[in-house]
């Protein structure tokens, strides 16, 4: 539980951070809240030669409007997401999800950028970002680019982030006012990753589902965007037969690991149960 030797850098700007990462090469890792990376280092599962701490870069922190979109800085903490009045109104599902991430101590230091960029399928925010259709803003030595959350995740701890790149912000177009939402998470205890979780945003029109988006947490190597399940629900009145078909479609794309949270079969079924429960709550919240 003691990390190996590493150098520590604390740049003041994104450009400085990017330059440092380019100089230091692949053995350097950006550090945000440290709640994924530092435990891995203590177990010596990660042995970076250098850490580039993003904490002193003021530009990376906070929630702001960019036109109709909301941009959340990468080093905004989970606790700050919970406290944000802007998010509470425009994207209440972020608050609901943030409240079931780990525990208050972790939420006080853990950041949204670290949570989504690390590629840990256990993290809650990646599936939510897929559900919300978020884009990740990325800075690298060659400049900046933006990539959809739905295209970002490639495997456990493997993402579209290239070595030397830093995720700087997350841009989200909020769903229309009156949308329904729910994040349903089954976990063993406070602080645990999900056994299975479902993020759901939907809009209703005339008693029917006008649109739906579903993300699933920790039931595959990556967060899962349940496109087929959402398509099945769209246009329906959430009758039992349709919900059953949507749940089956969502379950079909899962491939969870068997671990202390349960065997794969159980976790797949729990993804279905979480989706079913999310549907009930989200539909009740949708005002159209």
């Amino acid at each position: 539980m003691i990390p190996g030797t590493f150098d520590y850098h604390r740049p003041k700007s994104v450009s400085e951070a990017v330059a440092l990462l380019a100089d230091l090469g692949e053995d350097a890792r950006p550090l945000a809240g440290g709640h994924s990376l530092i435990p891995m280092m203590k177990l010596r599962l990660a042995v970076p030669r250098a850490l580039v701490d993003l904490a002193a870069i003021a530009d990376l922190r906070g929630v702001r409007r960019a036109g109709t979109d909301i941009v959340i800085g990468a080093t905004t903490t989970i606790a700050e997401l919970i406290a944000s009045a802007e998010l509470a109104v425009a994207l209440p599902i972020i608050r609901e999800t943030a409240l079931v991430i780990a525990d208050p101590q972790v939420r006080a230091r853990g950041t949204i950028g670290g949570n989504v960029a690390n590629g840990d399928p256990g993290n809650d925010l990646p599936a939510l970002m897929q559900c919300l259709g978020a884009s990740y803003q990325i800075a690298g030595h060659a400049g900046t680019r933006e990539i959809a959350a739905r295209a970002f995740y490639q495997g456990a701890y493997f993402t579209a982030l290239a070595p030397g790149e830093v995720l700087t912000g997350i841009r989200i177009a909020p769903p229309p006012a009156g949308h329904g939402w729910a994040y349903e998470k089954l976990k063993r205890k406070v602080g645990d990753y999900a056994t299975a979780a479902a993020a759901l945003v939907l809009t209703m029109r005339g008693g029917q589902v006008a649109s739906a988006a579903i993300g699933l947490t920790n039931v595959g190597d990556t967060p899962l965007f349940a496109e087929d399940a959402a398509r099945i629900l769209t246009g329906s009145a959430l009758d039992k037969a349709t919900v059953d078909r949507a749940v089956a479609a969502a379950e079909a794309i899962t491939s969870p690991a068997s671990d202390g949270r349960g065997p794969a079969e159980y976790r797949t079924k729990m993804a279905g149960v979480m989706l079913r429960r999310a549907l009930v709550r989200a539909a009740a919240r949708a005002t159209h």
């Binding site: 539980m1 089954l186 949270r261």
Partner: protein, 805 residues
């Protein structure tokens, strides 16, 4: 109030804060301010730090160990392997269970994370870096993980050191992986009872491998003074005197030149009774380097290498009449001890006090046998908040009684009431050899049933079952009843010893001239609150305020020899020593008082905080006055001073008991179990500090909840330990922990000087079956007979799926 009004008897009693008082814990003044003094707080000049290289494999031959790269790291002082310890004959050490255990891997490794080399450096981080550089070449051997396969003819040979040994410390060995067979009871009579039984049940009840997981891990600092030839060893020791004796035997250093000090301890729960390789290596490293050496286990090391508990697989049979009178009990246990038998039981008891397995019931006959086996897992198993396998025994009989009730179509509480040992049968001779000192089981269970509204709960459960069958709800409800009898206070010298040392305990009390006092014991608190409760006993016995008494434990130079704190033995044994020492002081105080009052000592009597002349209550001498006089005005012929020592050899164990009832709601779609209500009635005899008792019950129930509902140290099929971190090993937080309702009856122990029985472990003993019975009871109406622990969500869900929900 007139200042001259003398205090009333009640006011004088209150001032003492003696027995029965909810006195606030005096140790919490420092603990709550971060001013405790733990082993890791100790920093000595020139201190070095040790770290282990541990095995990657569950079973492998070690072909080579190359320490050269590690030794080359600046700051590394030494790297010890078995080859370095062998000339000192310290590469192996005896266990408390009569086995031997490798200190550092000698030729092979037998469990994952076994200690292979000990790196000593001038910095903790350097030690960890250097440990990474020790190169171990392994040759994998077939692993043995499943205890049920341990005695197969073709099972791999684990313990090559035992080759050809057909008997061990506890008799004949049947197989190369067999440790012992222990049997007790009347086999023929029991077989006969089963042959003639109208109803029988049989079920294999597994109690999974768990870990005590105290907040503070195991740690020590060893400091050897070459000039004086003295060793000082600070450590997390539940039994410091035993450690001193073992250290003397192992090291050859004379016992008077070994100073063992247990400072504040952050929880023990049986994890800190035994001797671990870290202690031995630290001592050797200090002798070799001439510097103090600190070793502090990390959490993964704690969970995966030191002292697991349970791993008992109990095939349980009960015979009964059709109307529910039990006629016989037959139990066979397969006990998985891991790679070395490192139980911390009294030496003659390889399966602890498992023969308390007849529980609270009047079984005319019983028989039990236990086979201990080796596997490629961490060694143990210790008594985790348990008086030596009584937790396992209570689980066995309490699940068994529920299964029998189900087969008979009887209510489980009714079956228990029908079979209880009756009040008038005490002292009661159990079929498996114990003499239960006292009890009133019917009163306790009936009180519990009334308090929880048992009849109404059963009616609600029935209605819910019907609603479930009609498809109106996906929630089912279970009511778990447990009535446990504990056996604590080890123990009488006639049957209890550790490495030949009788399991007495001790107390020394010195009253100072001003009437303040210091008391020292052979026990060692790890959070139990001894500094508070022991002073309360003395306060009531001698009549000086508890606030004027300092209680000190843990330093073998100053404390009288004692066997330490585990098995709920502190109050039953040391508590009795305290009372007897106090009574010696009181007897002398009576002589002094009589002398001062100029009457015969038969003419004075004790009155709360003083001795008074019989019939003349205004003529008295307070204990404060007597204390002063003890140092300057003793009666002719009497020595000055006011102090006493007592070594107490208990005549019998004590037998606390309790009635626990758990109400559980289960979501069958997720398997999530929610404890709606938990009622715990404890009878621990005389209650010294009700607040501390409630705290003990809360803590023990929380552990029981964790064990029943999620804890497991699991291994995969090739011997990798799974879940040895707090991410996976279930330690409930305040959020998961249910609300506890406590209650009590008082049946004093007839043989204990103050009637106290001990309570620390009862809630762990009784809690686990109550939770498990609640889960099993919830599914019983669907045809379930037994679901194995732990009852975490996925297993409960799977059980439901099997039953077709």
């Amino acid at each position: 109030m007139n200042e001259m009004t003398p205090p009333t008897a009640a006011e004088r009693t209150d001032k003492l804060q003696g027995m029965g008082c909810r006195r606030k814990r005096v140790e919490d003044v420092r603990f709550t301010q971060g001013r405790g003094n733990y082993v890791d707080d100790l920093k000595l000049p020139g201190m070095l730090y040790g770290d282990f290289v541990r095995s990657s494999y569950g079973h492998a031959r070690i072909k080579s160990i190359d320490t050269s790269k590690a030794k080359a790291v600046p700051g590394v002082v030494a790297v010890l392997t078995a080859a370095d310890l062998a000339p000192l004959k310290l590469h192996w050490m005896p266990t408390l269970a009569g086995d031997v255990q490798m200190v550092l891997a000698d030729g092979k490794v037998l469990f994952q994370n076994q200690e292979i080399a000990f790196v000593v450096a001038n910095d903790r981080y350097v030690a960890a870096d250097a440990a990474e550089l020790v190169e171990v070449e392994y040759e994998e051997l077939p692993p043995l993980v499943d205890p049920f396969k341990a005695m197969a003819p073709d099972a791999p040979v684990l313990r090559e050191d035992l080759a050809g040994k057909t008997s061990g410390a506890h008799g004949p060995r049947k197989h190369h992986n067999h440790i012992f067979e222990w049997t007790v009871g009347d086999r023929e009579a029991t077989d006969l009872a089963f042959r003639d039984a109208e109803v029988t049940i049989k079920e294999m009840l597994s109690y999974q491998r768990v870990h005590p997981s105290p907040l503070e891990t195991c740690q020590c600092v060893a400091s050897f003074d070459k000039i004086k030839g003295e060793l000082t060893l600070w450590g997390t020791f539940q039994a410091p005197h035993v450690v001193r004796t073992v250290a003397a035997i192992l090291s050859g250093i004379p016992e008077h030149k070994i100073h063992v000090i247990a400072p504040d301890i952050g929880g023990g729960f049986g994890n800190k009774v035994g001797v671990y390789p870290g202690y031995v290596c630290s001592v050797v490293a200090s002798i070799v380097t001439g510097k103090p050496v600190k070793w502090v286990e990390d959490r993964i090391e704690n969970l995966s290498a030191t002292a697991f508990a349970r791993d008992y697989h109990m095939t349980t049979e009960i015979a009964a009449t059709k109307d529910g009178k039990v006629t016989g009990l037959r139990v066979h246990v397969l006990a998985d001890h891991g790679a070395f038998d490192a139980c911390a039981d009294p030496s003659k008891w390889p399966a602890g006090f498992f023969n308390i397995v007849t529980g609270s019931y009047d079984f005319p006959t019983a028989h039990c046998s236990v086979d201990g086996v080796y596997t490629n897992k961490a060694p143990g198993g210790v008594a985790y908040r348990c008086s030596f396998r009584v937790t396992e025994a209570a689980y066995c009989i309490e699940r068994g009684m529920d299964i029998l009730a189900q087969k008979l179509g009887m209510d489980p509480a009714e079956l228990r009431l029908k079979n209880f040992v009756r009040r008038e049968q005490f002292p009661y001779q159990s079929a498996l050899g114990w003499e239960y000192d006292s009890g009133d089981y019917h009163t306790a269970l009936r009180q519990g049933m009334e308090k929880v509204g048992y009849t109404a709960l059963r009616a609600e459960q029935k209605a819910k079952q019907e609603a479930f069958r009609r498809g109106e709800t996906r929630e089912i409800m279970g009511v778990g009843v447990c009535f446990f009898t504990e056996i604590v206070g080890a123990g009488p010298s006639k049957n209890c010893d550790i490495l030949g040392i009788a399991m007495f305990d001790s107390c020394e009390i010195r009253i100072h001239p001003t009437g303040a006092a210091i008391a020292r014991m052979g026990t060692k608190s790890q959070g139990q609150g001894h500094e508070t409760t022991y002073a309360q006993i003395i306060a009531s016995e001698i009549g000086i305020p508890a606030d004027d008494i300092m209680v000190e434990e843990g330093n073998t130079d100053t404390a009288p020899y004692g066997l330490g704190t585990y098995g709920s033995r502190s109050t039953p044994v040391a508590g009795a020593a305290i009372a007897t020492a106090a009574r010696k002081i009181k007897a002398k105080a009576q002589m002094i008082a009589a002398y001062l009052l100029e009457v015969h000592h038969d003419d004075v009597e004790f009155d709360i905080d003083r001795f008074r002349v019989k019939g003349l209550p205004e003529k008295f001498k307070t204990m404060k006055e007597i204390s002063w006089a003890a140092y300057n005005a003793v009666p002719p012929g009497l020595e000055p001073g006011l102090e006493a020592v007592s070594y107490y050899d208990p005549p019998n164990m004590t037998y606390p008991f309790g009635a626990y009832i758990c109400v559980m709601d289960i979501d069958v779609d997720t398997g999530v179990c929610k404890v709606r209500r938990f009622y715990a009635l404890d009878d621990c005899g005389t209650r010294i500090n009700p607040m501390i008792i409630e705290g003990q019950v809360h803590g023990g129930l929380t552990e029981a909840f964790a064990i029943a509902m999620g804890q497991e140290i699991a291994y995969d099929e090739i011997g990798n330990v799974k879940g040895a971190s707090l991410m996976d090993f279930f330690l409930p937080t305040a959020v998961e922990t249910p609300k506890w309702e406590t209650d009590f009856t008082v049946t004093p122990s007839p043989h204990h000087p103050i009637g106290a029985k001990g309570v620390g472990e009862s809630p762990n003993v009784g809690g686990v079956p109550a939770f498990s019975n609640a889960v099993n009871d919830a599914f019983a109406f669907l045809g379930n007979t037994h679901i194995q622990m732990p009852h975490d969500a996925w297993r409960v869900w799977q059980a439901g799926q099997k039953l077709g929900v």
